[in-house]
Symmetry: C2
Subunit: 412 residues, 2 copies
């Protein structure tokens, strides 16, 4: 468009480049930040060896127990989620231990890599990308000497939900002494989990996910069985020594310098989640999961109404939705177009899935309006850029509108 | 819905109450805050009689001239927009002066009230709410002794755009010596204005509008003619003495303690607007107006596709859109429902218009995704709450999608 400016300037621009475009993350971590957490983070100018910090830390650890929904101690680490995954391996295994990894994507593969890095013998049950594994295969792979089972609650790379309760039940019925260690980094707050009732031994989470704060903190909820196991394991660990952290936490401190601002942010986010649950963090977590379920259902309906296929139709996670692009289209085109035209950031596939799927996140601080807006933008991409055959404006939006109305009205 | 919580709790809730709902302003001031301005505001811990402040103030005043698009000096005041309106009356008139007020809503009426408060004899050209005035009526009302003409660029209370250029032209052709004083509080950044070329004498603006920062600052661009006029006027003024402010501004200071944090925020917002214009504030303002034009056109198409009527179909402002509710419905129901179900804040009519219109703002930091999301939410209200006859999901969204695609594709 040639625009004539009052200043006498003439300008050649693409239409969208003249529009305001607010950057919005629709990525499965980092996720949109809660404003109250941002403010808490900015204000967190306190020293970590003071009564002020001890009060904060003690409060946040107690809140985390309620949020996870466990009687177990929760340990916070200043690291990414991978750090907490490593901690669960290094603290709970010894070199030569036989462990079982359930893998259906990049993060399942990370469990294998970690277990091998710490000298474990890894048995593997894998499922094709986009699928979850069969419980009978897990049962068959479980050995008497299996010391630990590692799995994801939701596999972020493929947007698949795994059956944690099923695996836990199977382990208990088999009388196995294996620890069950669950990476719930994107699962917590997007899928219902009850670690105590199900008998999960370690649950791993990260800060830049459903808890609405930036990356830099991870956490582990650790069962009494797991603490006992640690008495006899001898893999090397220092920064990630969980028993040392537990001991220090009893005094309201962390073993090493903690990410103070993120801890303050986490406290503010947990306050918000509790408020959403009428003051109850368990209710707040429940509603956070329901929120993700509703907006992921809107999104699945919308992309299917566009004639696109879900990558994980059988066991979709509500943490994120993975979608196959139209035939012959690189998914990167959609990712790039949403970014350049609308400043909406979604993710491509990871590793060998790059170009083959795109992923839209729902975990944490997302609402109806975020979701309908992204679907609107996706329609613009479908019509304007992809020239998607048989698709016209409104089809995806209407599908999403109906899902929302049905879900919400059934709640009235 | 009765939900059974994992905690064994049972809960009765309305569906939407369990959802995350981010508060979003769609109000014609305050408007959504620019994050960079929020950060600048939070960081603005400087004293106002220091070189640091003088550098900031001097820079922001220079940016404001470019943003307004004038060679005239721009004066900043720590007050609401009404303060700047008062300043233009108290500085440019003397008791007994005959002035002409062009009024078509609450803010036109405020010009009358202000002029009367300062002892002026007010001639009035008014238009019905929802309309703009006729230039021939303005011409007829203009007297030889008219000392000033007061008008709005856009009347926020009715979402009407007035013809500033037409009035300016008429004044100049008539050889009138009247000052033309334009309240562009919601007009600047939403309608193209060229004060120097048109011969506007005073242009009044406020901070919580298109410049994307909170309330508390107002500004006036003042022509040389107006500065000369002030030499002879003798209405009482002290805090709002513009000549004193101009003198202090030359030294990088304000006469009284300024709202430092807001000035820092304004600087950051103007940096953003300049960046949008490729480093040029005039281009940035031009694009800001185009942005408002596009999203207001989307909104008008959407509400009309719902079968609703625009309150100001003939001369709609792009600062905001005023809409008549369905027959027999109080507009407050829609305002309230959008708030409670989606945390989206729109405004009711003001004064006697309360209950009769609802208003959706587009001025400042709004984008496509905000707009499509609000239209989605409005569809939910129309279907779920209003049970609007003949309306079904998608109609409004499709209308908006098409307007956006047409506008943007014509720009490719």
């Amino acid at each position: 468009m040639v625009r004539e400016l009052e200043t006498g300037l003439e300008e050649n621009t693409k239409g969208h480049e003249t529009m305001i475009r607010k950057t919005r993350l629709f990525t499965p971590g980092p996720t949109p930040l809660l404003p109250a957490a941002q403010f808490a983070m900015a204000a967190a100018d306190i020293h970590h060896r003071t009564p002020e910090f001890r009060a904060l830390y003690t409060r946040v650890l107690a809140q985390m127990k309620e949020f996870v929904g466990t009687k177990n101690d929760v340990i916070l680490l200043s690291s990414s989620g991978t750090g907490a995954m490593e901690a669960s391996v290094s603290n709970l295994t010894s070199p030569g231990d036989r462990v079982l990894v359930l893998s259906a994507g990049k993060f399942g593969e990370r469990w294998s890599a970690l277990a091998k890095a710490f000298g474990c013998q890894v048995d593997l049950v894998s499922a094709e990308y986009g699928k979850t594994f069969k419980l009978e295969d897990v049962k068959a792979a479980l050995k008497l000497e299996t010391r630990a089972v590692f799995m994801q609650a939701t596999e972020t790379s493929t947007a698949v939900r795994h059956d944690v309760q099923g695996v836990a039940k199977l382990l208990h019925e088999s009388g196995s002494e294996a620890m069950l260690i669950v990476d719930a980094i994107t699962g917590l707050g997007t899928t219902h989990l009850d670690m105590d009732a199900w008998g999960v031994d370690v649950l791993v989470g990260g800060s830049q996910k459903a808890v609405m704060i930036p990356p830099g903190l991870s956490y582990l909820a650790v069962s009494e069985r797991a603490w006992e196991r640690m008495e006899g394991t001898y893999n090397p660990r220092y920064y990630f020594d969980l028993r040392k952290e537990r001991k220090n936490a009893k005094n309201g401190e962390s073993a090493y310098t903690p990410a103070v601002a993120l801890i303050a942010a986490l406290g503010a986010a947990l306050d918000y989640i509790a408020a959403q649950g009428g003051g109850d963090l368990a209710k707040g977590r429940y509603q956070l999961v329901e929120n993700a379920e509703t907006i992921s259902a809107m999104t699945r309906a919308a992309v299917q109404a566009m004639g696109l296929k879900l990558f994980a139709p059988d066991s979709p996670a509500s943490a994120a939705t993975a979608v196959l692009p139209p035939e012959g289209v690189d998914s990167g085109v959609i990712v790039k177009d949403l970014k350049s035209r609308f400043a909406a950031v979604i993710t491509n596939g990871q590793g060998e899935m790059k170009g083959q799927i795109f992923r839209i996140a729902h975990l944490g601080f997302f609402d109806y309006m975020d979701t309908i807006a992204l679907i609107g933008a996706l329609e613009q991409v479908a019509v304007g850029t992809l020239k998607l055959k048989g698709f016209e404006f409104g089809k995806a939006l209407i599908a999403a509108q109906k899902v929302y109305a049905d879900k919400i009205n059934s709640g009235k």
